[in-house]
Subunit: 157 residues, 3 copies
């Protein structure tokens, strides 16, 4: 699979899905759409805490967004059975834990967007909204959810 | 209907749909998906005001989220004609009116998630994003929107 | 086309699509759904900066939301090829750059909602969530994304 070879060449190993800490599912499939729950940024397995504009730089936020994208791919792998069945990454919502004066949420979000395009190619080109939120669960610095479209059953990617 | 019996056993009576205070619809159906507009928390018919981390405890926030879920079910009932036609609660977006130091949005959101699962069973298991926002219309403490999937016309649930 | 005549009667000329400043697409089509990326408010071609409750009035915010709606229609025109192929504006997410004490996000959002209904008539009636965020990229005062449903290929609107 080209996608898994790309991940390997980037030195990325996908994590297993983390069980949600609350009363919801990591993903729900509806027809050929996959709705993936918000994933928070983690570092060494614990929440990557901090706020952009206070305790983290834009570059650190971008790395955190990239880390979330890797976790999202782990969940996509579990949900799809095979990342080659992802027809399109449709939409990302990127929440950046921001002080009232931090205005580079788009640069932070690029950490995730660029990795999706690198790994999925044209299937990774997505619509996106990125904005600054007052807080994120556990004080994490970034949270991202997404909608992806799967190849329909019985069809090739 | 098992769902309505569950609601009755919980002592929950569904409210009628509240007409939006602005230029939009309480819901829109697109194919077999229902997009439900953001509903704000209310108490005794007026906005349940307050901010988590300032004037409300996590437990109060959780109760507010549960109250929103009841209102959302009222809208789902009106939109579907019969809650038994809800095939899946697909995705919740839970906005918690948060001070910059409140980090338990996931616990607040559980007030809604747990009720959906209690009432709809496996059909209530949903994807979710929960995060802290700077404010909510009318100063309400919680706002939730959702996407649900209906049973297709002519099919049984 | 009635829609383009309505736009002309309102003195609105649609802008060309602005290339995203980051690694994502202005829109993605998935089946008959169009997911349009978050568009920030602009004035004279540059970000319409400011925060509601600090430097902008509710009426100014409403005008900014209307400006975003015009830009969104420009993107919808490019994505659909013909606004007459928009079967429904399904859902708006309206992010209002808000101080912790501003609670009229719904009135700001009406600037967009009212224009969609004016231009698209019943096809413009949409579900909506509006809330206050801590910041928006480039310090813009409003950001809006949307989901729209297109007429299926081979069908009339």
């Amino acid at each position: 699979m080209a996608i898994y070879e790309t991940l390997e060449s980037l030195g990325i190993s996908l994590p297993p899905v983390t069980a949600p800490v609350a009363a919801f599912m990591p993903w729900v499939r509806s027809g050929d759409l996959l709705y993936i729950s918000g994933h928070i940024a983690k570092k060494d397995g614990t929440p990557w805490r901090g706020q952009l504009g206070v305790s983290l730089t834009t570059e650190e936020g971008k790395q955190a967004a990239r880390a979330v994208a890797i976790d999202l791919m782990g969940t996509l792998h579990a949900a799809s059975g095979d990342l080659g069945r992802v027809r399109q990454i449709v939409k990302l919502m990127v929440l950046v834990n921001s002080s009232p004066n931090f205005v580079e949420q788009h640069l932070v979000a690029n950490g995730a967007s660029e990795l999706f395009q690198q790994v999925f190619g044209e299937h990774g080109a997505h619509a996106r909204s990125a904005f600054g939120v007052a807080q994120v669960p556990f004080g994490s610095c970034v949270e991202i959810d997404l909608v992806a479209r799967l190849v329909e059953d019985g069809q090739a990617a």
